[in-house]
Assembly symmetry: C2
Homo-oligomer: 194 residues x 2
DNA sequence: GACAAGAACGACCGGTCGTGCTATTTTTTT
DNA sequence: AAAAAAATAGCACGACCGGTCGTTCTTGTC
């Protein structure tokens, strides 16, 4: 790998953290340059525009998410275990990044009223993730772990709600019971699926 | 009421809409001046600083929220009906503001890592609201509508999750079924409380 | 060792931000 | 109607924004 390529990856990894903390708009070239100990222009030479940078940050975050949340869960056996793994890895993903948390959550609220390529890219990522959740639930029905007739997309909605509530209680309210509450809610949800 | 007072309230009302759309940081004095047809300096004379403006915007939003969500629900009879009213008014509050949605949701994500008076004020508002939800649930236990031993604060957590999922599906994904999903989830939640 | 390509630099552009100071207009009080 | 007070406008500031420029340092190839 060329040196430029390596630097660009270093920039993007650092940028994902900054986005998780301050959002996609809060990410400024100056801050990112300081964080990577590059000059602003030296950094900017790696990207066509700020939007290009933001798109690449989104793509980098997506790759991280798939690597640490989705892929390990897909190695679990089909059915309830896999659904559990998806949710638990998701919570861990949010907690692991000590400084920022999940970068998609702030991005979702910044972009929900701003049409454009950035928003389209984010929506695509989120739809994929919801599809993954729903598909895992549907497989659990096939396996006989969940009752037939279960609305898998409704389950995905409910689970997403638990994650967002966790994010909110954890990051804004600093509630130490946030994770416990999310897990309790998830168990109650699963019990209703059987 | 003096004219200045009236203008200030007009500014704050308009500012709440802009915050709902663009967040507390996205609110700029220039934009707000244009929206209220004042000069930037003429507008600024009403406030000590931008932070002062933001604090007053938060307080204005809080007053609106209590007026349109909490107070009408407290006029409902104690018990399940009141819990229902709180949730339904909450959903309606989010949908009523055609341009912006709930101003507290974007603010929560902007401020979750920024200590200061703004964050403290927002946390206080949110804690009050969660207490209101939990208290209504506890009353429903007293009235015999909900089973005894119910964890009222867990219910508040779950309900908050449903609202956030609704907000996310509605505003980012533009899912027309968002409200239906939230209501379905709420009904399932209530059924488990009885 | 020459030389081109890649990578990073510092200076700078026009624009917008929050914020102060001063003048002018409008409202209120006498 | 005059004087006092309040409300608004005009203007300029320093800081920072995304982005461009020409230059320099590094790297690898012939």
């Amino acid at each position: 790998m060329s040196k430029g390529q390596a630097t660009r990856e270093r920039i993007l990894d650092r940028a994902v953290d900054l986005v998780a903390a301050a959002g996609l708009e809060g990410l400024s070239l100056g801050d990112l340059a300081k964080a990577t100990r590059l000059s602003k222009s030296g950094l900017f030479a790696h990207f066509d525009s700020k939007q290009d940078l933001q798109l690449q940050v989104l793509e980098t975050a997506r790759a991280h998410f798939i690597e640490t949340v989705v892929s390990p869960a897909l190695r679990q056996p089909r059915g309830e275990l896999r659904v559990r793994a998806l949710f638990e890895n998701w919570l861990a993903w949010e907690q692991a990044r000590e400084k920022g948390g999940c970068p998609f959550v702030p991005a979702s609220h910044e972009l929900d009223d701003r049409p454009g390529r950035l928003r389209d890219a984010l929506v695509a990522v989120q739809r994929d993730w919801i599809d993954t959740l729903a598909m895992a639930a549907r497989i659990a029905v096939e396996e006989g772990h969940f009752r037939s007739g279960l609305d898998a997309r409704q389950l995905a909605f409910d689970v997403y709600g638990l994650f967002l509530a966790f994010h909110f209680y954890h990051r804004l309210l600093r509630d130490p019971e946030a994770a416990g509450r999310a897990i309790d809610g998830f168990e109650r949800l699963l019990a209703a699926c059987r």
